[in-house]
Amino acid sequence: MSGSAITVSAVDATGEAGERSVRELMLGTWRGRFGVGVLGLFCFLAVFGSLVAPDDPFASSLDVMAPPSAEHLLGTTEQGSDVFSQLLVGARVSIVVGFAAALISALLGSAVGLASGYFGGWTDRILDALENWFLVIPTLPLMIVLARLLDPSLTVLIVVIGLTSWAGTGRIVRAQVLTLRERAFVERARALGASDTYIIRTHILPNTAPLIFANTVLIVAVAILSEAALSFLGLGDPTRISWGTMLENAFESGAPSAEAWWYVIPPGLCITMLVLAVALIGFLFEEHINPRLRDQR
């Protein structure tokens, strides 16, 4: 996964140990092991899910809403499709949307936070107002409105979630940049005639990166939940299977009253496990950067 390179540099920048410490952080506690294990499994499924799936997830049959059997490990849907196969394939949408939306959110949040913290003045005032607005406005209705106006697709989901979830990152980055800007090494660089881009690249960004990284991991969790909620509300990509759309189909076809627990429970459980895994990893990074959080436990 491409994330590992970022991980290493992020931890390096905190001035503590390098790669070994990341491994210890992730594998030394049960929380880390659970997080890495579950995330790893779902990432594997995101890539190979359609190859591993025992059945064509789209194939319909007359065997409708059938309970688990040897042929269908987790029963069938209202279309007679294999629930287990849909579950394996569904990992892709959650992982792709979760990480891609979080990436957009991280880029936007860092850019806005850097600009408003570093340049101050009117730039700060305007960007800060914008940030405030996004923080106050209820996110799900905003996402619903945007997604509905744009006709649902995977790209629309990613962009809409990314565009609406960066404000928290912006706030954190801004605060960090404000303290960094006044530090001696930055002032020294400025006195020596270094340009803004140079100072941001060599001093500000490396010292903000760990914070951005930990925060972004937590945004991934939020983005996965957002994708599931939007898909559940009928705003998902109609050409793809996701756990959210599975729940939507199950609910719309009356699976709860048909006692089709095999159709209702697994998709939600997968969302929960993945979000839990990502959040636990995020919390560990947060604690690593800010050990005071650990003392609270």
Partner: protein, 322 residues
């Protein structure tokens, strides 16, 4: 200087509100130009489209349209639902009390139970009860609230059919008294309110727990214990009241989440509030209704934030003396 602090908060709320109006206007006029939808009607001639544009005021300049929009909104004229042909404001006004009932019950229960569990965990820090509660709150954070709702229906309305699976009253029943009807509504409220409570519980629990952990290490607690007060009383009369303040701030942050929960949970339980109104508007591409509910949700969150600020102001003497 205390008045200035409050005036600043009110001003900020008004600015946010103005932003919402501008945003809402541009989003729906520019991205969702009604004429593109009108032009989709096969029988519409160019003349008819022109007439409709005039009816909608779309032939005016953008500034003129915006002025119209703000004026209409302030008069609570939010347009006409494309699906039901009713006034959007009327639909919102009918739905609002149901959302307030659900959201109010959920928030109240979550605050009470969450802070109670927070105190339990903080006073048993590191013990089994604490670990269990932390795990439980993590689970409720990660589990989608609508999925919890579906499971509640599966268990308590299908497997053990003791509670209604949806809607707000039993349809087609003539109630002998207001009390009988209220009882029926209460019965219908149990499952959706439980889903709402479970969704919000974790955050209140975590905040109360960490706030209590902080307070319990402070000197005045040690002193109270040293003078021989029983531990129960130290917790109840001295630690808890001091630890409650952060909960107020949290309620403000939570409002966005409450709105999201209202949308999905009401959808699951066919609860006739603003969330279900939003859901049907999504499916029918009913943009006036979508625009209206987005506005109401935003206004609700802004007002609730302001109220939380005022409450915080009233409760914390340190803010007032600044």
């Amino acid at each position: 200087m205390s008045g200035r602090w409050l005036a600043g908060k009110v001003a900020a709320a008004l600015v946010t509100l103005a932003f919402v109006l501008v945003f809402n206007f541009f989003l729906f006029r520019v991205m969702g130009d009604p004429t593109t939808q009108l032009a989709r009607l096969p029988q519409s001639t160019p003349e008819e489209i022109e007439k409709l544009r005039a009816d909608y005021g779309l032939d005016k300049s953008v500034v003129g349209q915006f002025a119209d929009y703000v004026g209409d909104t302030l008069r609570l004229d939010l347009g006409i639902s494309q699906r039901t042909r009713e006034r959007v404001w009327d639909e919102i006004a009918t739905a609002m009390p149901w959302t307030l009932l659900l959201v109010g019950t959920g928030t109240l229960l979550a605050t009470l139970i969450g802070s109670w569990l927070g105190v339990i965990a903080a006073t048993r820090r590191g013990q089994k009860a604490d670990d269990g509660l932390l795990g439980f709150s993590l689970f409720t954070y990660a589990a989608p609230e609508y999925w919890i709702g579906i499971i509640l229906i599966l268990v308590f309305a299908v497997w053990i059919p003791v509670l209604p699976a949806g809607q707000q009253v039993t349809p087609g029943v003539e109630f002998s008294s207001f009390f009988a009807e209220a009882l029926d509504v209460a019965e219908h409220l149990i499952l959706p309110a439980t889903a709402m409570t479970l969704m919000l519980l974790g955050q209140y629990f975590l905040i109360m727990r960490s706030s209590m952990v902080d307070v319990l290490t402070e000197d005045f607690i040690t002193v109270k214990r040293a003078i021989g007060l029983p531990w129960d009383r130290v917790v109840r009369s001295h630690a808890v009241p001091n630890a409650l303040l952060p909960l107020v701030t949290l309620s403000a942050i939570q409002f966005g989440g409450v709105v999201a929960g209202a949308i999905t949970i009401e959808t699951i339980f066919s609860w006739p509030g603003l969330g279900e109104l939003t859901f049907t508007a999504i499916n029918d591409k009913d943009f006036p209704v979508l625009q209206g509910t987005f506005l109401i949700f935003s206004v609700g969150v802004i007002v609730a934030n302001l109220l939380a600020d005022c409450l915080y102001f009233a409760l914390d003497p340190r803010v007032q003396s600044k």
